[in-house]
Symmetry: C2
Subunit: 227 residues, 2 copies
DNA sequence: CACGCGAATATTGAATTCATAATTACTTTT
DNA sequence: AAAAGTAATTATGAATTCAATATTCGCGTG
């Protein structure tokens, strides 16, 4: 059931540019020089420009007519709005997952859950995040709704670059773990309404927004653009 | 606050092709000939191919490597999944709208609502749909979440071509109107939770799905593609 | 007559070229 | 010397050209 991934040059280039943005090698607001990237990737302008257009529709960059491309500048509101949306999508994924999920899938998630608890016990932040992420992805996958997954993935792409730079206060963290306990319970009861509600309210989102204040648009003001 | 709409050639072409798909002048599964469209629009292949790439990322067409483009074939599941998603987004829009909406905006929606009731009384289907749509769009706009609106709009694009061909049974219709009464009440109380819930459950979505059975993929099998 | 092979044709993928708009540098004027 | 206007340069937008991959058609063979 794995999709045939088409490897067009433009798609390759788009992904590479996406990585550059994610890793901060292209700063928000920074002008993207076509020639420079052509040299870097060793391709002509045609596939590169196609990639830019695709990235623009994906919301990672913006195209100014006759004036080139710029990495989208994430504002606080921007990110918050995206989180609100993603929370709603996760809520839906929970509801749907309960309708479709198999016992095997549930026990796989239970295993992840237990692993995560262990990382919480030892306060091992990075692996905790990793497994946490896997749990949410597993639920999303169990929703059996491709367009939902696709949409979620796109939104995640947009904010990736600011998403993995957060700190956890003990208080928030313990609450997040409690949320996950409730999630597991709801999932094992296949109570979609409840799981959806928990996921929508899951404070992971709110935490992240709260701790983002410092990350957004303070660096990389090389090319200030008055909106 | 109106955005500067950039009129690049590729964007223009993409919109035009989108219209062709919406109006059924390009059938689902039908192969899209680059040359043919170039002649039709009077542009060279460069902007046309850029447009195709954009439309592919927007989910309207699919690109087969070295084998051209095809209009995406909407399956029943496909459409149902999209409706599920849109319902969730509308739910969110309701919650957010209640937080931000002004009295003026509410009374504007109230006006639309009353107009709609009038069309219901006279069983005037098309104008009813029109105003109905305006109401939902007004709530969406009041959500004050651009990415939400953008995402919703994209999903709507994908299923537009099958969306406006539905019949209303009296029973469904009266229920839909009742839903709208409850929506107005929740909105005027600014009860976000409630409005969100109503919008998520609003049977408009379910009706549409139910009545779509006949529309999906029965015609236009000119170029059957075995998935 | 069906099937398979191979040349001819057409179509897509990508690079190059040409045209046009924006930016920069320079000159001129006040 | 500062500002404005103009020429030179650079970058973007779009068409054309070249290359590689499919598709079609005709032929021969079983």
């Amino acid at each position: 059931m794995t999709k045939i991934l088409q490897r067009n040059l433009y798609r390759e280039v788009a992904d590479r540019i996406g990585e550059l943005i994610e890793h901060g090698e292209l700063s928000p607001g920074e002008r993207i020089s076509e020639k420079q990237l052509c040299d870097r990737f060793g391709v002509s302008r045609t596939p590169l420009r196609e990639a830019l257009k695709v990235l623009a529709t994906e919301g990672l960059i913006e195209l100014l007519p006759n004036r080139g491309a710029r990495v989208v500048r994430l504002t606080m509101k921007n990110v918050k709005d995206t989180y609100d949306l993603m929370a709603a999508l996760e809520g839906l994924s929970g509801e749907l997952a309960c309708q479709h999920i198999t016992d095997a899938e549930i026990s796989a998630i239970r295993k992840l859950h237990n692993t995560m608890l262990e990382y919480y016990r030892t306060r091992d932040l990075m692996p905790y995040f990793q497994v946490n992420r896997q749990i949410h992805e597993a639920i999303l996958a169990a929703s059996n709704n491709e367009i939902l997954q696709e949409t979620y993935s796109n939104l995640n792409q947009r904010i990736k670059r600011v998403r993995y730079s957060k700190k956890m206060t003990e208080r928030y963290w313990s609450q997040a773990v409690k949320d996950h306990e409730n999630m597991m319970a709801a999932l094992e009861k296949r109570d979609g309404k409840l799981l959806g509600q928990i996921l929508r309210d899951h404070l992971c989102n709110k935490i992240e927004v709260a701790t983002l204040a410092g990350v957004i648009e303070t660096e990389g003001d090389k090319q200030a653009v008055s909106a």
